[in-house]
Amino acid sequence: AQTVTQSQPEMSVQEAETVTLSCTYDTSENNYYLFWYKQPPSRQMILVIRQEAYKQQNATENRFSVNFQKAAKSFSLKISDSQLGDTAMYFCAFMKEGGSEKLVFGKGTKLTVNP
């Protein structure tokens, strides 16, 4: 079974600064996908970024980028130029390729962006 670990229950950052959220996972699969989801106080889960395990290049979406280290089973999220609207719970998630399309979530990191 796959497990996802987020070791930082809470983090805070000043507006306009950069913050990195950590995620590690455990799997015996070779082909899989990793995701970061954001859940603001409104509760709406929003996909932030996705990484395919077969791709060596780290995914980037505007201010959001990942550092994917397959051998270390590490998948951190970097948020640059943090904005107040980035305040949310961030969940790291794993999905096995070619399977049931089920997501396995970590426990989440609560990020607060301070003005």
Binding site: Y33, F35, S42, R43, Q44, M45, I46, L47, R50, F91, M95, S100, E101, K102, L103, V104, F105, G106, K107, G108
Partner: protein
């Protein structure tokens, strides 16, 4: 993309009663999922609901407690039966597109059992 609505958005229920949560999607999807998010916790998958077949339940969740219907490709319901205060949670439905590469979530139903 997909737009998902859930009804009700919140409810307060008495112990021993049942509540049915509805999930409506604006496009046809094959796979729908129901998650539970207990206060301050992560999301735990309850079951996968495929149209035309029985739902597939995860370990620790049973059909008698969480019966699911999936009558068509845009709609599903989750019933929380014989509720106890431990069932107080947010219940979210989600849908999968592009073989799971895109998953969209509903706004959730906040259930409080007294």
């Amino acid at each position: 993309s997909a737009v998902i609505s859930q009804k009700p958005s919140r409810d307060i229920c008495q112990r021993g009663t049942s509540l049915t949560i509805q999930c409506q999607v604006d496009s046809q999807v094959t796979m729908m999922f129901w998650y539970r998010q207990q206060p301050g916790q992560s999301l735990t998958l309850i079951a996968t609901a495929n149209q035309g077949s029985e739902a597939t339940y995860e370990s620790g969740f049973v059909i008698d407690k969480f019966p699911i219907s999936r009558p068509n490709l845009t709609f599903s319901t989750l019933t929380v039966s014989n509720m106890s205060p431990e069932d107080s949670s947010i219940y979210l439905c989600s849908v999968s597109k592009r073989e799971g590469l895109e998953q969209y979530f509903g706004p959730g139903t906040r259930l409080t059992v007294t």
